[in-house]
């Protein structure tokens, strides 16, 4: 996946000012930066979710498998099936059971799986939730703890077998133990999926990401292998940020 010269606006606010970035397949890419630097906006541009907000606008190209997802004949709804997303706050559908939540993506797309039980089991296993919920699939998704709900949301995204999984601060509403489980999961999932994770927690980026990009004021300041960014940053602002001098 590759973003080319992405500009994004919220009404008059210019939130992203020309971001170009190649995302490596089947690796974890972390996006770090201070609040308001455009990191969430950037991932929301990668599955055309930015434009869902009234008054929001995007310019530029995002290439997925060589196709520009902002091309004229592209249906944004179809893009989102290939580029899944997990949000800051766990948001399982409250009217649905755990099982229905996992299948929600298929049902919303009008696809009927020949073997829904298999889809549910596979997705929940991938999200490391199967053992905890296999006997209570008929219970409501909201009956789970926050960390379990977030893993349910991950399972819900994985059930559609996306190419890319975007995670927008997926642990910011979770306690440290639940966070550790999600981080472990991100690491496991990277063998199958391309993952982009936004985080305000630099230790998290250092722990889970193969590549890290530092965003500041709507621009990409530095991008490279996580080890290099954290040990030998080339840019003074990156160094100031990761050493905690601002942010």
């Amino acid at each position: 996946m590759r973003a080319e010269n992405i500009h994004a606006w919220f009404g008059p606010t210019h939130a992203l000012k020309g971001v170009t970035m190649s995302i490596v397949d089947r690796q974890v890419t972390a996006i770090i930066g201070p609040s308001g630097c455009g990191k969430s906006t950037f991932v929301r541009c990668l599955n055309r979710m930015h434009e869902v907000v009234p008054g929001a606008r995007v310019e530029g190209k995002v290439l997925l498998d060589g196709q520009n997802i902002y091309g004229t004949r592209i249906n944004p709804v179809r893009v989102r099936r290939h580029v899944g997303m997990v949000f800051q706050k766990p948001n399982p559908f409250p009217t649905m059971t755990i099982r229905e939540n996992v299948l929600a993506g298929l049902r919303l797309n009008g696809q009927s799986s020949s073997d829904p039980e298999h889809v549910v089991e596979t997705a929940l296993k991938q999200a490391a939730l199967w053992e905890e919920v296999k006997d209570t699939l008929g219970k409501s998704g909201s009956s789970l703890s926050g960390g379990q709900q977030q893993r349910l949301c991950i399972a819900r995204a994985l059930a559609l077998e996306p190419d890319v999984l975007l995670m927008d601060e997926p642990c910011s509403a979770l306690d440290p133990i639940a966070t550790a489980r999600i981080e472990e999961l991100v690491h496991e999932l990277s063998s199958k999926y391309t993952i982009v994770i936004v985080t305000h927690n630099m230790q998290q980026a250092a722990r889970v990401a193969d590549f890290t990009a530092f965003f500041y004021q709507g621009e990409i300041v530095e991008y490279g292998e996580t080890d290099v960014i954290f040990t030998r940053p080339q840019n003074q602002r990156t160094e100031d940020y990761i050493t905690g001098r601002f942010g």
Partner: protein, 307 residues
């Protein structure tokens, strides 16, 4: 250095000691608090007492006439033999037809305004007008119904014309209640849905509507409970006051409970006033039942939504 700071500490302690202790004993505003509480209590007791008085008065007067026969008899020239069956059936039919017309249109309008309309001058104007319509006196709706449904659309003085008029009257309320219900569905759930590759319609149908249905239904029933007591618009469009048959189709002439009551009250004979009181008791009981049903339905449907 140490001696200086020790001196400062002693000075600070001395200052503390000379100050009065923190005020914890009840101050002087306890009386105001109590008075305000009493006023608020009075504000709720007053309307409640009036309602009890009204209902109780009607009930006492109505008791000799309240019987199964009263509910199942046709009106009669003899007060003791008169019943409210056609009015009861007419009111039930009206409510059913009104709901059938008001729910889809009201919910549709609410969905458009909440989900599709772009904020702007036109939308603001529409919203303003809907709130205005909610305040228009019901007799105006009656005149509108008379002209549009009875005359122009040539529906005659029929059940369907009455129901259409009442539906028009309820629309602003249904729209506002539905919008309120749509707004309670958090944005994060809609986004979750979009992110799964759902379009707007699928999001509405699978996630938003199931979640806001309790609110919509409660709003509809509460507005219907208001409509069942409406008299003016039905008189305007020409509901009959003396009907010795049951409405057998939607274009049949009809009467309704409030009209029957109005008719009996305006008779000179005191026996008919007893009938009117009995009719009022039945009408109030129906309204209480509808409000109760709204509460029951809301809690029941909410139980299916787990937060």
């Amino acid at each position: 250095m140490t001696s200086v700071s020790a001196e400062a500490d002693t000075a600070a302690l001395a200052m503390r000691a000379s100050q009065p202790p923190v005020e914890l004993v009840s101050g002087s505003n306890g009386g105001v608090e109590r008075a305000f509480r009493a006023i608020c209590l009075l504000a709720i007791l007053l309307p409640l007492m009036l309602l009890v008085l009204l209902f109780g008065g009607a009930l006492i007067e109505a008791i000799p006439r309240l019987s199964w026969d009263f509910l199942t008899s046709y009106p009669s020239r003899r007060a003791a033999a008169a019943g409210i069956l056609p009015a009861l059936v007419g009111s039930a039919g009206l409510m059913l037809l009104t709901a059938v017309m008001a729910i889809p249109v009201g919910l549709g309008a609410a969905i458009y305004l909440e989900e599709y309309a772009k904020p702007g001058k036109v939308t603001a104007l529409i919203e303003l007008n809907i709130s205005n319509l909610a305040g228009v006196p019901s007799i105006i709706y009656g005149l509108l119904g008379l002209e549009v449904f009875v005359r122009v659309l040539n529906l005659g003085r029929s059940l369907i014309a009455g129901a259409a008029t009442l539906a028009l009257l309820l629309l602003p309320m249904v729209i506002m209640a539905s919008r309120e219900a749509l707004r309670t569905v958090p944005r994060s759930l809609r986004e979750a849905c979009f992110a799964l590759g759902a379009d707007r319609w699928q999001t509405l149908r699978q996630v938003v509507l199931p979640m806001c249905m309790p609110g919509v239904l409660t709003g509809v029933i509460l507005s219907l409970a208001r409509a069942i007591g409406e008299t003016a618009p039905l008189i305007t469009i020409g509901a009959l006051t003396y009907v010795a048959f049951l409405p057998d189709s939607i274009d049949s002439p009809f009467t309704a409970l409030p009209i029957q009551i109005f008719n009996w009250v305006s008779r000179p004979q005191p026996e008919f006033h007893i009938n009117a009181a009995a009719g009022i008791v039945v009408l109030l009981a129906l309204m209480l039942m509808m409000n109760g049903a709204a509460i029951w339905l809301r809690t029941r449907l909410r139980r299916r939504i787990y937060w």
